[in-house]
């Protein structure tokens, strides 16, 4: 599965903006990303949003077996 890492996380953590991983859900993805770049899991809940096949997904238990792509992007909150 293609993992697209958006700025600033590509440079801040992974040194790459494309990764190939096969997580079964988004919690699993966070674990795998943490293994690649320790510290990512700690900031993920506060700073990261995931989009699965183009749609933002806030439920990290979401099964990814059928997914083609996950985008890791900065979370934007409002005032």
């Amino acid at each position: 599965m293609r993992i697209v890492v958006m700025p600033p996380f590509d440079k801040e953590f992974f040194g790459a903006d494309r990764l190939d991983l096969a997580p079964h859900n988004l919690f699993d993805l966070v674990e795998r990303l943490e293994a690649l770049a320790p510290g990512f899991a700690a900031i993920a809940p506060a700073r990261v949003h995931f989009a699965v096949d183009g749609v933002l997904e806030t439920d990290w238990t979401r099964e990814l077996a059928q997914a083609r792509e996950v985008i890791v992007l900065p979370r934007v909150g409002g005032g």
């Binding site: 958006m6 183009g54 985008i71 992007l73 900065p74 979370r75 909150g77 409002g78 005032g79």
Partner: protein, 756 residues
């Protein structure tokens, strides 16, 4: 207003009933932050730094402690040492260590007004007197306020622990550039080189304050057994609980936070400044303690929206098709990392289809109060630059500015800056509505000009908990965990009444404390009507199902043989066919049919959609004084579906007025000594009634298919377009393009008279 196309007709949604908390608020009975008193309460006060940047060498509190009537004194040493932890409780992520140090400075003060010590005493007078008896020894440090100055070689660095995030390789020394975010793709330089027309500009904005009329205040009471109560006005009492517990390193359930009425927030009341300090003072004194800021403290120590320096280049083909955008901006972060850069990047150019783009945002630490969310945080600044540049481009191409926007407007399926496709957005619908509005073609008088600008905000969903319960007489209470900042109790009651098909007056909505309802995210991000509304609908649906089930059991039929109609259950089959049972009849007998009727919905709402707005502004520029008068203003916005149109219009009008203030008057003004010179409403001049015309709000409804009633969210979008709408109108009126906010009379006059 266009009619919702895909939704069934509503009985309550779209009506304008009086809000349930209305009478309390027009009679002065509603309790806001400083209206609440606890028995035996002490009065607190906070000592603040007179220096913009200094090391704290020592703090001597002995004389203050010895003053008669002083019951407790606290400094940063009284807060526990914490491990770095990034928390997201509502808007931008904050490191809890920064939150703690912002409540009470530890080793360094980072801005004039930074809290250094606190006192609790028997009266406000004694508390203030005690502050004067505290001796703080400072070692003054060089300070920096400006964006480019803060990034310059040799600038004083605020934090030796901050290494710019988002750059590779990781920098080997700390700097004031907290974060760099870059998005985009394609060949920007190539496309600009071959474009038929290009525009280039540098735009600047000063920090502005949210300007809520109620200053921050709270009362805290922390007992020896570890349990505590806090009464406060905030945009999220669960956020107050989480942040206070984290700063104090105590269990969240030990704190019960009761939300008082909130006197405005606009993003600025999504953090804690006072609560942990009041808690420490309460524990030390054994008494409840009130801490309340003065207006001056609000200006000096609470979060402004970032100022900015923004460079924009746009290029288009001869027919107006945008081919490239290059946007690079610096945003003030203030004393701590604020995380507005990402929002600025994703809010810059996504409303247009632009094949080649590069958007870079850099967040800059400096010796100003920590930047805080302000209505669409990070969006208005960059939008001012982009929408001004669009106007200039339209002029160069000889294309009507509205048509240029329409030609390039993003539609469903187009990529956002992040690459994600837009969902069912309504930018084109807003532009069409603006074009069709009489304002767009109305004649103008002498020295008048018309400007237009478009903008958007992503909105949000997230966690909310709602409890819908039925009293024995069939009337309904909706309890949410979402502070009501502008009429949300009314909209929750409307949605519950819609589900249950009962009169609005039979549903009463309240905001419950942290011990009485489940966790809910802050009221902010334009999420409450969407997310808490979704939970309200879900809980009300469950209550309806329970009522049907109870009626079926009482009649001795299966659930399929009953139906909910106009607020009562109808029996469809068997002996009782055709009989009706009211909610009152069911609830009145609920103790003997399985227990009270109630349902909780706790969810993390998904499927939110952004809101888009288009504002038309007419200005009249006085050539002799440079004064700009707003003579007519129309704000068009896609809201999904308006649950209570009065409060939707109110959000749009209020956001537009704030944007007009940002455009024309408001700015933080600092002296050469690094101290804020206009920390009061007289000198920080927000719009008053005589500054503004009526603001016509035009509601466009492109329903959100993911929300049961089509809601998208309203509050933040309307502050995004006004900055450029006003600037574009000034250009149209006077032929001068102002790129620096605020466009106060002196600046306008100077632009009109370049010879001096």
């Amino acid at each position: 207003m266009n009619a919702p196309s895909t939704m069934k007709p509503f009985r309550h949604v779209g009506t304008r009933p009086v809000r349930p908390d209305g009478v309390d608020k027009v009679t002065g009975k509603a309790l806001y932050s400083t209206d609440f008193k606890a028995p035996g309460m002490l009065w607190g006060a906070i000592l603040r730094s007179p220096h913009p940047h200094a090391r704290i060498l020592s703090i001597d509190t002995k004389k203050a402690e010895a003053l008669a009537g002083v019951k407790a004194v606290a400094t940063g040493r009284d807060l526990p040492t914490l491990e770095s932890l990034v928390m997201h409780v509502g808007e931008g992520a904050s490191d809890i260590v920064d939150v703690s140090h912002n409540c009470l400075a530890l080793d360094k003060v980072l801005y004039e007004g930074h809290a250094v010590a606190a006192v609790a005493a028997a009266s406000p007078e004694i508390a203030r007197e005690a502050l004067g008896l505290i001796t703080v020894e400072y070692e003054e440090l060089a300070f920096v306020l400006g964006l480019e100055e803060a990034l310059a070689e040799g600038a004083p660095v605020l934090h030796d622990t901050v290494f710019t995030k988002g750059v590779d390789p990781k920098p080997d020394r700390p700097s004031n550039a907290a974060m760099r975010v870059e998005m985009g793709g394609g060949d920007v330089e190539g496309a600009l080189a071959s474009a038929a027309a290009t525009v280039t500009g540098r735009y600047t904005l000063e920090p502005v304050h949210q300007g809520y009329i109620e200053p921050h205040a709270c009362v805290a009471s922390w007992n020896g057994d570890g349990q505590a109560q806090i009464w406060t006005s905030s945009q999220g009492h669960f956020a107050v609980r989480a942040l206070t517990a984290s700063v104090l390193a105590i269990p969240q359930a030990d704190i019960r936070v009761t939300p008082l009425e909130i006197g405005g927030g606009f993003g600025g009341k999504t953090t804690v400044y006072l609560e942990p300090v009041a808690m420490v003072l309460s524990k030390k004194s054994g008494r409840p303690v009130r801490l309340a800021m003065t207006r001056e403290e609000v200006f000096r120590a609470t979060g402004p929206a970032p100022g900015a320096v923004i460079d924009v280049r746009l290029g288009a083909a001869a027919d107006g098709t945008l081919v490239a955008a290059d946007v690079e901006f610096l945003y003030h972060s203030g004393a701590y990392t604020a995380n507005d850069a990402g929002a600025g990047v994703s809010s810059a150019i996504g409303h247009y289809r632009i094949p080649n783009s590069r958007v870079v945002g850099i967040e800059v630490l400096c010796n100003r109060p920590a930047a805080k969310a302000y209505r669409a945080p990070g969006a208005p600044q960059v939008n001012f630059a982009v929408e001004s540049a669009m106007d200039e481009l339209a002029g160069k191409l000889g294309i009507d500015p509205l048509e240029l926007r329409l030609k390039n407007a993003a539609i469903e399926g187009d990529p956002q800056t992040t690459g994600l496709p837009w969902g069912r957005i309504g930018y084109v619908e807003c532009l069409e509505a603006a074009k069709a509005h009489p304002h767009w073609s109305a004649p103008l008088g002498p020295n008048q000009g018309r400007g237009i600008a478009g903008g958007y905000w992503g909105n949000y969903g997230g966690p909310s908990t709602v409890n819908v319960s039925v009293a024995e007489d069939g009337t309904v209470t909706v309890a949410t965990g979402s502070p009501d900042i502008g009429g949300s109790r009314a909209s929750m009651a409307i949605m519950a009444a819609e589900v249950l098909d009962i009169p609005y007056e039979q549903v009463r909505a309240v905001v419950a404390d942290t011990a009485s309802i489940g966790v809910s995210m802050v009221t902010g991000g334009s999420r409450t009507t969407f997310a808490t509304g979704m939970a309200t609908v879900q809980a009300a649906e469950e209550v309806k199902r329970l009522l049907c089930e109870r009626a079926a059991r009482m009649w001795g039929v299966i659930s399929d043989q009953v139906e909910w109609r106009s607020g009562e259950v109808i029996c469809l089959d068997g002996e009782k066919q055709g009989q009706a049972m009211s909610a009152a009849a069911i609830a009145g007998r609920s103790f003997h049919s399985g227990g009270p009727i109630a349902a909780v919905a706790a969810l993390s709402a998904k499927g939110w959609l952004p809101g888009f707005g288009v504002h038309i502004c007419d200005t009249e520029v006085d050539p002799e004084t440079g004064h700009v008068k707003i003579v007519r203003y129309t704000a068009v916005q896609d809201v999904g579906i308006a649950i209570h149109p009065d409060y939707v219009e109110g959000q749009i009008q209020g956001g537009a007025a704030q944007g007009i203030g940002w455009a024309l008057n408001e700015a933080y003004i600092y002296g050469k000594d690094g101290k804020l010179d206009n920390a009061g409403f007289l000198d920080y001049r927000m719009p008053v009634a005589s500054d503004l015309p009526m603001i016509e709000a035009v509601i466009v409804e492109v329903p959100n298919p993911s929300h049961p009633y089509g809601v998208k969210g309203v509050g933040e979008v309307p502050i995004v377009p006004p900055l450029a709408a006003v600037a574009n109108a000034i250009h149209a009126a006077a032929g001068v393009r102002l790129k620096d906010l605020p466009m106060a009379p002196d600046r306008v006059y100077a632009a009109l008279h370049p010879e001096g």
